[in-house]
């Protein structure tokens, strides 16, 4: 996968997160999903479903335990996508 794919994932996730959380705040790679966006479990599940459907990947539940920021989530999706 190329660098542009990484950026695409980043762009898409930032867009989705901002509509999912109705947040006016600028979402950056460093935005904390828990403390800044208050992603609750239902929103999280929606987001994962969308990621899985859009990128045709399966996000293992154990990997989410090390995700707190937008960048960490993008890194994870990118890693899984590259390995598939």
């Amino acid at each position: 996968m190329t660098e542009s794919n990484y950026d695409e994932i980043m762009q898409l996730l930032c867009d989705r997160l901002s509509s999912l959380t109705n947040s006016n705040a600028q979402i950056t790679p460093e935005t904390n999903l828990i403390s800044q966006l208050s992603i609750d479990s239902i929103k999280l599940l929606n987001l994962i479903m969308e990621i899985e459907d859009t990128f045709d990947v399966s996000i293992p539940i154990n990997a989410l335990t090390d995700v707190q920021t937008v960048r960490e989530l993008v890194d994870l999706v990118y890693k899984i996508k590259s390995a598939s």
């Binding site: 904390n32 992603i39 479990s41 154990n62 989410l64 335990t65």
Partner: protein, 607 residues
């Protein structure tokens, strides 16, 4: 053979939205067995499995896309479990030693669970991590259970082994930790497997995510067999053509006892979907029921809500839920509204609202306490709100226009069990009076493992279990009106207030007994957790840092958001003995924030 039976015998083989591959076509275990059905009545789990293994039914595991991934007929389970038991025998552990197993929805977990029983060991299921950023707290939770249970062996599938390895570091009782694969490399000892005794502990069931004071419920073979018999004979009236489908986690009592062990002691087949896969795509569960013609499937109200939220009109056309005769609902307060919405939505897909089967239970009574009458749907009564608050009495609504509360009929206790309602002094109350729900019977636990303090709080004299729930009896049927303030239920998760307070108290800025957690409800029944902290910090930045950190910690540990309120010292109300009163703390918060209609009648104080 009639076409219906042929269909029942060959349920879904492959994919819902995926073409079967030509090479390897896995067949699920059939619905109809070759064996005469025996409805529980066994002495022990292993004797039940010995019988079930003579038939052709068993467990089936499906992936997120609905493809059958693996099957585990009871015959193969017996064989595998006995082999693993002989490998476990190589550790030379005393009978009754505990074995910790991280319980993902996998054949490996079930094999290990039964292997422990064949080897005379006591298994217990540990949760899998489900929350964002929960790595550190999850490892602490595992360690809490390993220490409290004094487990000798700990196992996890490869996906979760990393966490387990971190958790066992420094835990003194652990002799060996590994994956099922590693266990299979160990030699099989040539030993005679000893039968178990009904008085022996069958397993432990952990009920709290606390890192400091986990509570492992001790369930004996006798309690388990008693509860299973009540469930399958009286609660569900299981028949030879029944088949179950489940997404409930194996580490919860409803998932383990209700949908793993109950099907086995009646030799019926089950189709499993991992909890995560259900949560992301809830309709996969309904598709399994539809395609495999399942008849028995349980859920918390929250699971039904997810299905109702996610279904599209196009989905309804492909679903046929007419086979579903027992839609068991339990594990949290049941709001009639949730059931009505589900029934309305899925009526066109053949769902029969008479299939709703409200029930009441808790891990401390193995699983089930009461069942409503099967096939009669959800019954409820409307009572006058004012009398309920003023007199703690349920009076059926006489006139229209008065404010009312509706409560679901959870039915009567299983045979051999008694439910009574008592006041704060432990005096038994008459029908329609609201008080604490106490249970007596053979399904009740013998205590929490290695935790006499919590055991004494829960088990009253004469072996009456204080459930912690509030309700009333009417014509012998139990109605739950609420929980005491020590348990908060959010999105189907039971969270102990004490566990949240404990997390807060681990912060250097928070002293012990200066944190109080409770839930407040919106109009639509959504619960928000509130954490009130007595705080001496004056700098805005420090206060913000504490608030953010607490919200983050609660999220990581429990997967829910919470409101943090910092108040001056001595704001939180205390009882005469100096204990914090969550009930009073909640009333105080409600008054400060001007929430209307929240001053609640359901709680009677703190345990």
């Amino acid at each position: 053979m009639s076409s219906t039976i042929t269909k029942l015998n060959a349920p879904l083989t492959q994919a819902f939205d995926f073409q079967p591959s030509s090479e390897l076509q896995l067949m699920p275990t059939p619905t109809l067995n070759t064996l005469t059905q025996q409805l529980a009545g066994f002495n022990t789990l292993t004797s039940a499995l010995e019988y079930a293994a003579e038939g052709v039914t068993g467990y089936n595991f499906y992936d997120a896309r609905g493809n059958l991934r693996s099957i585990l007929p009871y015959s193969a389970l017996r064989h595998n479990a006995r082999t693993l038991a002989r490998r476990l025998s190589g550790f030379n552990l005393p009978r009754g030693s505990r074995v910790a197993i991280v319980a993902d929805t996998s054949p490996e977990f079930v094999k290990l669970f039964f292997a422990c029983r064949y080897a005379g060991l006591v298994p217990f299921a540990m949760p899998i991590p489900v929350n964002l950023g929960s790595h550190v707290i999850y490892v602490q939770q595992l360690r809490g259970m390993l220490e409290s249970s004094q487990a000798s062996i700990a196992l996890a599938n490869i996906d979760y082994f990393g966490f387990l390895e971190e958790a066992v570091a420094g835990v003194t009782h652990i002799q060996w930790a590994g994956t099922p694969g590693k266990l299979s490399e160990l030699p099989e000892l040539d030993v005679e497997l000893q039968p178990n005794h009904p008085d022996e502990t069958a397993y432990l069931q952990f009920t709290s995510g606390s890192t400091r004071t986990p509570r492992g419920v001790i369930i004996t073979e006798r309690a388990l067999m008693c509860n299973l018999q009540g469930i399958v004979r009286n609660g569900l009236e299981i028949k030879p053509d029944d088949r179950s489908a489940s997404w409930l986690p194996f580490y919860h009592d409803m998932g383990l006892v209700g949908l793993v062990l109950a099907p086995m002691v009646t030799q019926i087949s089950v189709d499993y979907l991992a909890t995560r896969d259900f949560a992301i795509r809830p309709l996969q569960w309904l598709r399994l029921i539809s395609r495999n013609r399942c008849t028995v499937a349980f859920s918390q109200p929250f699971g039904l809500k997810l299905c109702t939220l996610r279904v599209r009109e196009s989905d309804l056309k492909e679903l046929d839920l007419s086979s579903w005769r027992a839609a068991g609902i339990g594990a949290e307060m049941i709001r009639p509204e949730t059931l009505r919405n589900f029934a309305e939505k899925f009526a066109s897909a053949g769902f029969d609202e008479n299939a709703f089967l409200p029930c009441y239970g808790l891990a401390e009574s193995t699983l089930a306490v009461t069942f409503s009458k099967i096939g009669e749907g959800c019954k409820s009564i409307q009572v006058d709100s004012k009398t309920l608050i003023d007199k703690r009495m349920a009076v059926r609504l006489q006139a229209d226009g008065r404010k009312q509360n509706e409560f679901v009929n959870c039915g009567q206790p299983l045979p051999g069990h008694i439910v009574k309602i008592v006041d704060e002094d432990g005096q038994q109350l008459s029908e329609m009076m609201v008080g604490s729900v106490l249970v007596h019977g053979d399904s009740v636990m013998t205590g929490y493992y290695n935790n006499p303090e919590e055991t004494n709080k829960a088990l009253k004299s004469g072996n009456w279990l204080d459930t912690g729930d509030i309700g009333f009896l009417f014509e012998g049927d139990l109605y739950i009106t609420g929980r005491r303030t020590d348990v908060i239920i959010v999105n189907g998760r039971n969270i102990r207030a004490q566990d949240i307070e404990e997390l807060a108290e681990q912060q250097p800025e928070v002293r012990s007994r200066e944190a109080s957690a409770f839930g407040v409800n919106d109009e639509d029944g959504t619960t928000t957790i509130v954490l009130v902290i007595e705080c001496r910090l004056t700098s805005v930045a420090e206060r913000q840092s504490l608030t953010t950190r607490l919200q983050q910690l609660v999220y990581m540990a429990f997967g829910v958001n919470c409101v943090v309120e910092l108040v001056p010292p001595h704001t939180l109300p205390r009882t005469s003995s100096g204990k914090l009163s969550r009930f009073a703390a909640r009333q105080g918060y409600i008054q400060r924030t001007n929430l209307t209609g929240q001053l609640s009648f359901v709680e009677s104080g703190d345990r």
